[in-house]
Amino acid sequence: MVVGNSEVRVDGYDKATGRTKYYEDRMPAEALYVRIKHAEKAHAIVKSIDTTRAEAIPGVVKVLTCFDVPNIPFPTAGHPWSMDPGHQDVADRLLLNRHVRYWGDDVAVVIAENEVAANQGVRALAVEYEELPFVLDAQEAMRDGAPQLHERFPGNVLKHTASRLGDYGAAIRKPGLIKVEGTYDTPTVQHAHIENHGCFAYAENGHIVVVSSTQIPHIVRRIVGQALGRPWADIEIIKPYIGGGFGNKQDALYEPLCAWCSTQVGGRPVRIDCSREETFVSNRVRHAIRIHIVSWLNPDGTFAARKVELYSNQGAYASHGHSIVAKAMGSFPQHYPCPNMECDAWTVFTNRPAAGAMRGYGMPQASFADESNIDDCAKAVGMDPLEFRRRNIMPQGFHDNFSGNTNYFDSFRVCMAKGAALIGYDEKRREYGHDTGNIRRGIGLATFWYNTAVYPISLETSSNRMQLNLDGTVTMQCGETEIGQGADTAFAQMAADAIGLNSYRDVHVISCQDTDITPTGLGAYASRQTYVAGFSIKQTADILRGKILDYANEITRQAVSNMDIRGGNIIRRQDGSVLMSLKELAMTAQYNPVHSEHITAESTYTIRNNAYSFGCTFAEVEVDVAMCKATVKRIVNVHDCGNLINPALAEAQVHGGMSMAIGYGLSEQLLFDPKTGKPLNNNLLDYKLSTVMDHPDLEAAFVQNPEPTSPFGTKALGEPPACSGAPAIRNAILHATGVAVDRTPINPHVLFAEFSKASLIHDVWQEKEGSKNV
């Protein structure tokens, strides 16, 4: 068996030698530079753009503005197309915008022969605006009289959905209940993959080819077609290796604009390379979601009723829209089942950058709120937070009718038990939490609810093509994309086992997707790829095996049912004897003068399953009260993601998610000037992404309950590691200091305010200041 081994990455050698080619490494030397003029207003109408000075700059080829673009609104979300217009994504984008809806919106482009001329051209554009009032907060945007972003969405509400269980109103009237209420705020953060998004486009044989740093080539093909009003088959998207995505590149970013710019200069190659500053503001961000929770507890520490209201800050354009907060809301009744629940979620347009998909897709927000409230509940009834969770969390056997998911194993409790043992939770819970000095230690935990892929909300489909090579190896093409997570390696391992090859090295996965060549797949999102590709790999391997054995039957005259493929050989089942190698078979089949056959297989699998994927984080913190700093001293994640295809890669995935979660908990947020709406810290110096000095060692552990719906027993792992870290840190700070912080990031500014409020730090000097000022 190859599956289950910690094989090294198939792309490891190339990446370790620096020869891996990313989009910019494939750039045609003659490509023209497209630089975008971003609006310097948060909300405005462009009255005019004077391009004269820009056009006079030597090297500037063309200037195009929001007055030049086709009036074809298009959606950008990286969702599968739906044949049902009611389920299609909101088409609210134009290539360039006269109605500026956030500081950084695209209003014009300068196309030039070189970078300097393009930049000079952009600076030379004179844009005249009619300024409009703007709004940055989701709940403020819902108020009467708030500035309106989209005509089609009065009140700025993109969507409101609700779910009801039991009778909340009646349930809360029961006497003796304990009410625990909180409003939990999460910030706008950004993916900050180290390779910025970029792409280049050119015409070839009447097609438009776009080479892009994207997670979703097949979806981007459709969106470029829509945006340009061209048949989708006119567009060819090529996805080379990419330097991380984390959901930002699960959107059509600048591919449509790039493709259009190429058409405006006669199909010559043009390039759009986002700067880091643009990546932060003019790509996508994570939704800031404010979550109000009212929990009503029975005296025994069980839930009588819960009310949850979620306000999701969509920013200026719909992108993935309500899907994110809908997923967040959907977790509440499942994570901690409660007989009486009222849940409401609103997605609201504001004049911030557009929010889209980001690792966790609503769950880091939901987990922060839910798991903070759970610790607050445990505290209110005087129960240990781990015990409170054990009592209330989703039980084994729980079934969700909508997704069809079943909690086959007691995942939550098993993961929590493992994590508690690893970190020494019980002892530390007893030992910590009593410090009174400057340095205080605490331990906390949080769990997360997650699921795998997007069924039944959207289409789940996976296509695969295999070809038997003359040396007995197999070349495989998947629509699922390698974005750094190690997908190609996992696919190779699964294919090797499914076909019966000796090694995953005998499977050559073509990493680059080209929509003209690669079988259709939807790409990297929803922690789905290993799960969904597993189905099509297994099915296609079965077809390939059938063809191989049929051909072997011609040569060996053994009955197909008596043969098998193992270790790269055709063997006879009965005695295990090797009849011939796959190489011999492939050579014979190809060059047989009577019956020549190039043995290939291709198939599509429609997945109509989903799978829960749960886990938890335990975090130990040290708080320096006077310095208003919390430091994570130890952190452990435990995941039940089914069988591990590649344990080393799985562990590495978890590390990355944990790092993101630490940043989400303690330091990361994109800030906006309240007076102008201008982003303040859209660079890697001021946006506090964790460095290697901001982490303790990261510890990952697994519980391997085989997922019954998957041919390989596997399920989601890509996003789950990012979900429960922040609330675990928050709860550890609560344990250390007694201070419940209801927002992230819990940075020194927040701790200064909270510790002042809790009188942990004394503002003795303020009297002094006061007296001096008198």
């Binding site: 990455r9 180290i194 790092s659 660079n683 982490h695």
Partner: protein, 163 residues
């Protein structure tokens, strides 16, 4: 009015010279004139470390280093680590073996800082290693396996057994 200057330097062990636009960064020169595409661009202001190269043995972000300053210098990029027959150096092999690579975009810069660390001959503690590597941002790995790769290679070079 374009201004050019002849830049003579040694890149990855080879003496080279080229007329270079004085406005070019060293990143521009290495990527465009010498096609050394392991030198990556992640921020272009010296904050991410993706463009890191060694100049006379010290690590520099080539994005904020003028190409003309390279005149007379010895420059090393990741391409220079590989042997003539494709042999990997120990640190490259360790990055592979320790699963320290994911998307691969920060990898070249990280490895070059690791080379500076390893060639110093110092035996650093894990905390000191963190500081020595803190000029690189990585969003995939949480740095854990990168630290492991560098630490293990350092120990091996000092003859200290590692698991």
């Amino acid at each position: 009015m374009s201004q050019y200057k002849l830049v003579r330097c040694n890149i990855n062990g080879k003496d080279v010279e080229r007329m270079v636009d004085v406005r070019a960064s060293l990143t521009d020169m290495l990527r465009n004139d010498y096609r050394l595409t392991s030198v990556k661009k992640g921020c272009e202001v010296g904050e991410c470390g993706a463009c890191n190269v060694l100049i006379d043995g010290e690590a520099f972000n080539s994005c904020i280093y003028l190409a003309v300053w390279a005149d007379g210098k010895h420059i090393r990029t990741l391409e220079g680590l590989m042997g003539p027959n494709g042999e990997l150096s120990d640190i490259q092999q360790a990055f592979i073996d320790e699963t320290a690579i994911q998307c691969g975009f920060c990898t070249p810069g990280f490895i070059m800082s690791a080379v500076e660390v390893l060639e110093s001959g110092e035996l650093y503690s894990r905390e000191e290693l963190r500081k020595r590597l803190s000029g690189h941002l990585c969003r995939c790995t949480g740095y854990e396996n990168i630290l492991n790769a560098v630490e293990k290679t350092m120990k091996r070079r000092h003859g200290i057994p590692v698991d």
